[in-house]
Assembly symmetry: C2
Homo-oligomer: 293 residues x 2
Amino acid sequence: MVKRYSLTGYEKNDDEDLWLWDDIPEKGFELGYKVEELMHYEKSKYQEISIAASTGFGKMLVLDGIPQYTTKDGFIYNEMLVHVPLTIHPNPRKVAIIGGGNCGAAREAIKYDSVEEVDTVEIDKRVVEVSNMWLSKSEIGKEDKRAKLIYQDGTEWIKEQKGAYDVLLLDRSDPYGPSIDLYKEIFYKNIYTGLKDDGLMVCQSGSPYFYLDILKNTVNLLRRIFPIVCVYLATIPSFPGGIWSFTLASKKWDPIVVDLSRLKCENTQYINRKIFISCFHLPNYLIRELDIE
Amino acid sequence: MVKRYSLTGYEKNDDEDLWLWDDIPEKGFELGYKVEELMHYEKSKYQEISIAASTGFGKMLVLDGIPQYTTKDGFIYNEMLVHVPLTIHPNPRKVAIIGGGNCGAAREAIKYDSVEEVDTVEIDKRVVEVSNMWLSKSEIGKEDKRAKLIYQDGTEWIKEQKGAYDVLLLDRSDPYGPSIDLYKEIFYKNIYTGLKDDGLMVCQSGSPYFYLDILKNTVNLLRRIFPIVCVYLATIPSFPGGIWSFTLASKKWDPIVVDLSRLKCENTQYINRKIFISCFHLPNYLIRELDIE
């Protein structure tokens, strides 16, 4: 008999081993991560938050049963979300990250000397507190007076920003629960308004293999608003299918003409100058779907 | 109660749905593929061979419970195994594929006009016959008089080849069961001897995330034998972690100086000229592990 845990995503098998399951029901695909120890679990006002010590991926931050960050491969997501836009913008001073409560994205952003302020806008204070408690300092970034935390709903916060930011990053979870409004056209329009005249944004836009519709929708909505829209890719082994998309939308700066000496890749684990160039090179099956060139 | 199938890898869940499970026990990681219909199953002299109609990946060729090829994303593996070496070699005429019984690699190789002969050396005739029966003609390639099948153990066959081939491709399964000898130094030495003076080889070398030791071992053994050894990557969503490595070993031709107009990418689904360049760009975590540059 399979014993089911009451916690979303977790399940004990016949051998009493605890596993976390991430499934894509419409594709009949499931990923299982063996959990050595469930270090933390709580229901916050917004979602279930847990920290699991996994066998293969180190400590995992899990929201509503879905792994968001692992200590073994989470650097890939954070580096690709942050370094790409902060290299394309020639002088990023004011940066905000909407979502990103584990603070790994802010840690990457403060590597850029031009950056004067990094605001992390997180709806759920408990995500920040739980990450601070269980993930190591090196994972969430040292204290830096340029990094500020704002506990507010990103969709509300962005309405108050007018021409204020050089770079806005959407470190959003999948389009369910608290993140659903972060996928709507009105939100992207507010992002446009919140950016300076030469500002740019990047969002994670899901698996191009399993959720191509989400990626296409993101690209199509952003193309209506921004003159420059590009998709780039990274492979994150703990995510379903590995391949993951990010969408960049820019008012002025184009990734095609970039000074790569600005890329702060001395201490990165994933990105380097060649990866920066390569990540924009899409396979044919995606070029055709996204109507590129 | 979980009902277990007697077939390796397959299992029925509480709802009587059939799933195929691919697991990496030492990493506590499992992938589940929902199976709509088990179209074929047999035990050959060498291994269990099955064809499963999956929900998310189309028809799958499965050997000893491990998916080898899917009709939805198998093109990625075949294109990357074949087009990269056949573009680097300026005039590939005689090509052999060791393994590759689903014949998808041979299909890609015959796209190159210079190719006069493509020998597929497969130990298990039933893999070829089952693939022919269940996978569509467009998947396994039209009949072409240049494509020949040789039913022999690749480790024995290679001993008889002396300076005969321009390109040798190792379409091997993981280093267990019938493939284990395809990972040994003596086999790589025989590959070297089987190639012409300017010949080159490519092998799949596993997941660089889950099986870094296999990749490192492959690279180290080949570096002792060949003057030019390079690793390149592709992301294959149905494979664990997505990211997958190929290792190229060459006597003369170097991927750094290649005429990309030779790449036959008009009808490919994955590779194009930019992907060709990008696939050799490794993330920092791999560059450090592989001692590159």
